[in-house]
């Protein structure tokens, strides 16, 4: 019962969403039709982007209301959100994950490390940026990117 009281007390936590403007809509040519399943792939990040991604799907930002959902298997996914610079040991798993997804599929490079290795450029364990191994369709900049930016990027994928 204390849980029930807590639920009643807390109420709605989610922030109001920005209105969707026409210019941002339908990144993937509307192919995904308002439903996007995301598989988050961490190829060697510091977990900062993961925390922000988790927050984006949490109660405050609630990406689910725009039709985005996290899934467990890349076979169920349309979009791979890749975080972190690609380390040597994660090159093959990243490529395999990309091949396991069914087309039409998109790769989103989340954070500066995924875009261009960020602060880890030249490190001995880093093999390169994500675009060196799989074709990247969309980038979300930031170290780490703010959940608002992540949300805006995901809304461009679903078009809502």
């Amino acid at each position: 019962m204390s849980l029930f009281r807590k639920i009643l007390r807390t109420g709605r936590v989610t922030e109001r969403a920005e209105p969707a403007t026409g210019a941002e809509l339908m990144l993937a040519g509307g192919r995904l039709r308002g439903s996007v399943q995301v598989r988050a792939v961490d190829v060697g990040s510091c977990n900062g982007c993961e925390l922000e991604l988790a927050s984006t799907f949490g109660p405050v930002y609630d990406a689910e209301r725009f039709g985005v959902r996290l899934v467990a298997s890349p076979r169920h996914a349309d979009v791979l959100c890749v975080t972190g610079p690609v380390t040597h040991n994660m090159v093959t798993p990243l490529v395999k994950t990309y091949e396991a997804a069914a087309s039409p599929k998109l790769v989103v490079a989340v954070g500066d490390c995924a875009r261009n290795c960020g602060v880890f450029t030249g490190g001995y364990g880093v093999a390169g940026a994500v675009s060196d191994f799989v074709p990247v369709d969309f980038e979300i900049a930031g170290c780490p990117p703010h959940p608002d930016d992540l949300l805006r990027g995901l809304r461009r994928l679903t078009g809502r």
Binding site: S73, M90, P93, A100
Partner: protein, 672 residues
Amino acid sequence: MSFAEISLVAALATGAAAIAAALAIGEPRRRTLLTGVLTAGCGAGGLLAAMGVLATGRPVEAEFPHLLPFAGLSFRLDAFGAVFVLVAGGGASAAALYGISYTRDHLSGRSFQALVPAFVLTLLLVPAANSMSTFLMLWELMAVTSLLLVLAEQRRSPNAREAAMWYGVMTHLGFIALLLMFSLLAAHAADGSFAAIRHTSSTMAPALRSLVFLLALVGFGSKAGMVPLHAWLPRAHPEAPSHVSALMSAVMVNLGIYGLVRVGFGLLGGGPSWWWLVLLALGAVSALFGILHALASTDLKRMLAYSTTENMGLVLVGVAAAGLFTSTGHPVLAAAALGAVLLHVINHAAFKGLLFLAAGSVVRGTGERDLDQLGGLMRRMPVTGAMFTLGAVAITALPPLNGFMSEWLLLQSLIHGAQSHVVAVAVAVPVAIAVLALTTGLTAATFVKATGTGFLALPRTRAAEDAEESPRSMLLGMGVLAGACVFLAIAVGVLAGGLARAIAAVGGVTSPAPFRVHGTTVSLPWQIVGTSVVLGVAVVVGVVAISVALRVLPRGARRRRTENWGCGRTQQTARMEYTASSFAEPLVRVFDDVLHPELDIDVTHREESQYYVESISLQRGIKDAFEERVYRPVLGGVAAWGRWARQIQNGSVHRYLAYGFVALVLLLVAIR
């Protein structure tokens, strides 16, 4: 002569010709071919004869008073026996066709080839026996021929001798029980023929009738694999060559049911409720015990043998229900239960025979019997795999195949029987329904395990990787039984009249219509409850329609072959698959109080120090609880008694002469 009589004579002649061919022909290939074809013809003849008797209800009779000294041979094939001859004939033709190429390599010797048609002939004739001597003689012939067949592969398999010994001893213990039983009946009737026994059995004292029933339970129950007399089944059936296993499991065990119903209903004319409650308890325990051991077993053929124990347990539950309903005055329900039993016997023969033949095909193609060493066979042996899957769907009682109809009928008769006001029935029915329900779920788990680990995914060993599909005659044999499964699923209405005549022929059950058929709907005689074969067909049509529709989709024309998703791992090997033992592990854990799995961990330490481990070996196994708790003490007791009794034979000639003298004196005193 009627159609049935002609077919039966033709069957017997063909069978004799098969034996002659096996003994006479020199060249092995021609021997196996001709013997196989002739035995199949014998089976087909039996099948046609049975259909003839079932269609008209007129029995086929024959008497040979001088063939056996004192008693003569007497045969009468009525509609009830015809059901079992039907099963025997169908199973024999499929097994014989299968055997043509199965025995080509190492079982083509004269003795083996001659024994198979002999076995088939006894299977066809036992249900037709009409007197004590005929029955016992044929029963013993059946036991001896099957015993020799079990021994056939003793050179290749070290367990065959032990299996044959268990089988021989237990079948003869059963035979002794039957001999005693028939002696009691015949002594009371002063004549060995079944007709005389039937006439006079109602005047027997109740205690004597109960003794007769219990002896029948022991003798016929052990043949049917009823617990606690089942220990020979999981040993003998796997060791026999696969088409013989199919005959034993699909046809021979049914004769235990035949005997029990014939004696219980026909010769004794029914009995008090406690008989049937005892039978129900034994059948329920057999069913649960059988399926639990099948679930835990990783040997393919042993699993199928335990599954036979389970199915026979369910049949015994049905027979017990029919007996209870008769003794408490519900003839319509009794007919429905008995009809369900007979239908299940026919269905079980079809799908269990198919499963054993498919298992034999796997054993021949890979050389392995253990499910944990198989895998990936669906792509290497596609026909065998499809046949096994069909058999597995049928045995799990799923629509659209035939097992569903008999389970449905049995469940319906039990549910309706629960409305009776008799205490015995009210106690028995919930237990029976619970047993039926539990075994259905466990059968599904067992056969998903068998099909999944044996046939799907990757091969686990070299032997499975190099598997070859079986030759055509084996595929043909399997195809015959698969066709029978499908036919029985779609055209179950064809059997309605025959089953009604069979139940009428048993005697002791009035109003025999087990179910009615209107078009494609099977309905019960007492209310508007039915099920339709159309449903199963609809599922198949639906699958086809959906598969076609998927191709029409924009990207649907072709599938992309892709590597498994293994979380990005670089190597997918067969070691990562689930094995049969791991698949069954959660359920074995749930039932570990019944199964008592034993874990043996052996740690070998290094010589230098106890702190370093050289190797660890783990063995996990499940022993048969009845063997541990019941057989071992009994055998130990018998052995101990034997050791004590050895003191009588101490080698001294004087003592032996004294024994003779004392015995003579006692005899003289007794005769006075």
